[in-house]
């Protein structure tokens, strides 16, 4: 199937905060950020619900990541900390609570106790997110006051979800929200419309595995936590693991997916058409959030999409797409609206498959995933075709470099999205990756961050 056909088969996504049934949310400013902007978000389910998570693989996983993992494992050891039961998600922005040692872990446990007491749930039912500067401690007094206040502000409304999304932001220039609906089997042969909504933040220290920074996906569909995890892991592999802003994988990356079941739909069973429909909806929301994150990358002036077709298989296609959007030289050229296709060829020529865990999440058998992890993606210069903004620049089968209208391409590249298309001419594999241009502003912003 071509990328275009796959896109056509995806549910439509709206960029608005639409609260699924069974959840309440709020966000407000607790004074963690010096700017006085909103920095605490709380999402609460009406009752304990199924939850799945994908976390950063960074060895310096932050205190909220470690506590979320152990809370999920406490409720359901079989889930290995990747899925279980949850009733609330608390998020603090402005302080990552990473590399803060045992004291930072203790701080995060206190945050969980305060949330649990305010909401009337067990501390192990609280999931934690945080983002901001690495190596500084949470200002516990302010966080405690903020949690008290945000618990009183909870709303089962779109406005509540939007307020939570606002509070996730750090250097994001815009709020990141997306929603779609999916038709699922209901009681007695009926059909029920369930909602899938997501909120997320970017925008620096973003790279595949995980490339997320933070995202929370909520649905009023019903599923066991194991089934939710089976939906979430491949979605992350196809969307956030294909996103890069700057090549750095953070200490705090987390995606949560919570399912309230409040739509009245029947529980989604693994392998069923309903699971495929739910996965498609979750993927559509996740992909749209990833594109919003890429477009708002630090210093970015354009979303950079690389679409690869004709690869040996999908894993190779995704590897090539990722290598191209991760190249500093490609990104700088796109910033200058310079159709420098040679840099695209060079980046594609060095593409390597991702690690075994992500390959397996994306559908490869464990043995194949282990064998192919990190291997070079097959590419043949004599079959490759490269197009920028719809204009063919290189055709390996036709002697290589092609004559093209440079002024026209430069003009076409002066857009909010620049699409680089590669046809490897080797098979049926397709894949895409998302990034942004590299600007002087990225450097300036990141030279002046701590102080």
């Amino acid at each position: 199937m071509t990328i275009e056909a796959r896109l056509a088969s995806r549910p439509d996504v709206e960029r608005r905060a639409a609260m699924p049934a069974g959840f309440r949310a709020a966000g407000l400013a607790a004074g963690i950020k010096a700017s006085g902007r909103p920095d605490v978000a709380l999402i609460v389910a009406d009752r304990p619900v199924a939850a799945a998570a994908v976390f950063t693989p960074n060895a310096f996983a932050a205190a909220p990541v470690r506590l979320s993992r152990s809370n999920l494992a406490a409720g359901l050891p079989a889930g290995g900390g990747r899925f279980g039961t949850a009733a609330a998600v608390i998020s603090t922005s402005g302080c990552a609570n990473a590399a803060t040692g045992a004291a930072g872990d203790a701080d995060q446990v206190k945050v969980g106790s305060i949330v649990a007491a305010e909401v009337g749930i067990a501390p192990s039912e609280v999931l934690h997110l945080s983002t901001g500067l690495i190596g500084t401690r949470l200002p516990l007094d302010r966080v405690a006051a903020g949690v008290n206040a945000v618990a009183l502000a909870l709303e089962a409304s779109d406005a509540g979800l939007l307020a939570a999304a606002e509070s996730l932001r750090t250097t994001d220039s815009v709020v990141k929200v997306a929603t779609t609906t999916v038709e699922l089997p209901g009681p007695g042969g009926s059909t029920v419309s369930a909602r899938v909504s997501g909120i997320a933040k970017g925008v620096g220290m973003i790279h595949p595995r995980m490339a997320t920074m933070l995202a929370v996906l909520l649905t009023d569909a019903a599923a066991s936590s194991a089934a939710l995890s089976a939906v979430l892991r491949p979605v992350a592999a196809l969307t956030w693991d294909q996103l890069t802003v700057d090549g750095d994988t953070s200490t705090n990356d987390t995606v949560f997916l919570l399912a309230s079941g409040a739509s009245g739909a029947e529980a989604v069973e693994p392998g069923s058409p309903a699971e495929a429909a739910l996965r498609s909806a979750v993927e559509a929301v996740a992909r749209d959030l990833a594109r919003q994150q890429a477009a708002d990358g630090e210093g970015a002036t354009t979303l950079l999409t690389c679409a690869v077709v004709g690869a040996e298989d999908d894993a190779s296609a995704r590897a090539v797409a990722r290598a191209v959007v991760a190249s500093s030289l490609v990104k700088a050229a796109v910033h200058g609206r310079d159709p420098n296709w040679g840099r695209i060829a060079s980046a594609a020529g060095c593409a390597r498959l991702t690690d075994a865990a992500v390959l397996e999440a994306a559908g490869l058998a464990p043995i194949e995933a282990a064998a192919r992890a990190g291997s070079a993606a097959r590419i043949d210069p004599e079959r490759l075709r490269i197009s920028i903004a719809g204009q063919r620049m290189f055709d390996g089968a036709a002697g290589g470099p092609q004559v093209f209208d440079q002024a026209a391409v430069r003009a076409a590249m002066d857009a909010l999205e620049v699409v680089l298309e590669l046809d490897l001419g080797l098979g049926e594999g397709v894949g895409e990756a998302f990034g942004c241009d590299l600007s002087e502003t990225y450097v300036t912003e990141n030279s002046e961050y701590t102080t």
Copy 2:
């Protein structure tokens, strides 16, 4: 052995062009570069000599890379294109002759024929280098005239080698040369002093495996080409594979090592003390050239060195060092002289070992290299220590973040070299990597390259 001890055991290196016996060289401007700067270099051995090479793994390997590999294989099929016999190295700057298809290959063959005719050797004894814009054809008329002229200018002098080094440059702000001497067994129990010299260019599209751009190492020591290759491969793994400027691995990366034997030293045998001495000398020259390349990275204002001790093993130490100097966020922080150690911790926490070929070149057994390629380097946040410019910022065993004098560190970072030291506290493994800060100038230069 600590890094300091290893450094102390390295031969001293001088940054000057010192021609080893048995070679002649020259460089001049042939008009390939619009700037009118020198762009053709020729190095000729007095007779066919042993040669070893390391090439880019990029699937888009440029025409000179492919032709060099096949010339080496033509003389000595057992060398697999990695070692054999050569009598000349021709280099053109300003045009990469990459992604130019069959026409580009034919151009490079013509260059070889012209060199062979001028010098009076076989075309298969010519090794080729080129660097510059990808996707453009060599201006053959100008190259031919340049080769005629440069062959007449050959000198067995330091000035000849310096002229060749000048002609390698593209965006390099300074010429890159290094030399050392090594005492080797001579005839009848005597000792002979042999010279090892290198010339190289940077300075963009530089990343491990290969991170070279171009380098030519010459020695008047004697060795078979297989023995030379056994010296060169681990040296490249320890030096150029630990160098990164911008995360892009080019289409043209090449290192050549040629041994004339003209010093009168006996041929170096694999496994002998003489081989160890020669390897140490070659490594010292290669390491110094790599540091020159890093310091002159596009837009760089400082050399960034990461020294890792206490790793589980050397391969893990090199992986962590490489991850730190490759991090855009670390590089941007160093540019701002900002002691943002949290970014160092985050980058170290995601370090992964390099691929099997480089691990094997660095000394791992093939099975171990295959098993560990791409795996996460072991790191324990509770044992890690991080220092910047000699000041301890993080000590995992002492609660994490440490109080330090920020103004003093910022002042110490305002230097031509910033050293980041990590002690992993896990074992005896040591390693280092070289990079540079990320500046607005890098972005500006690379947004405006083609046009």
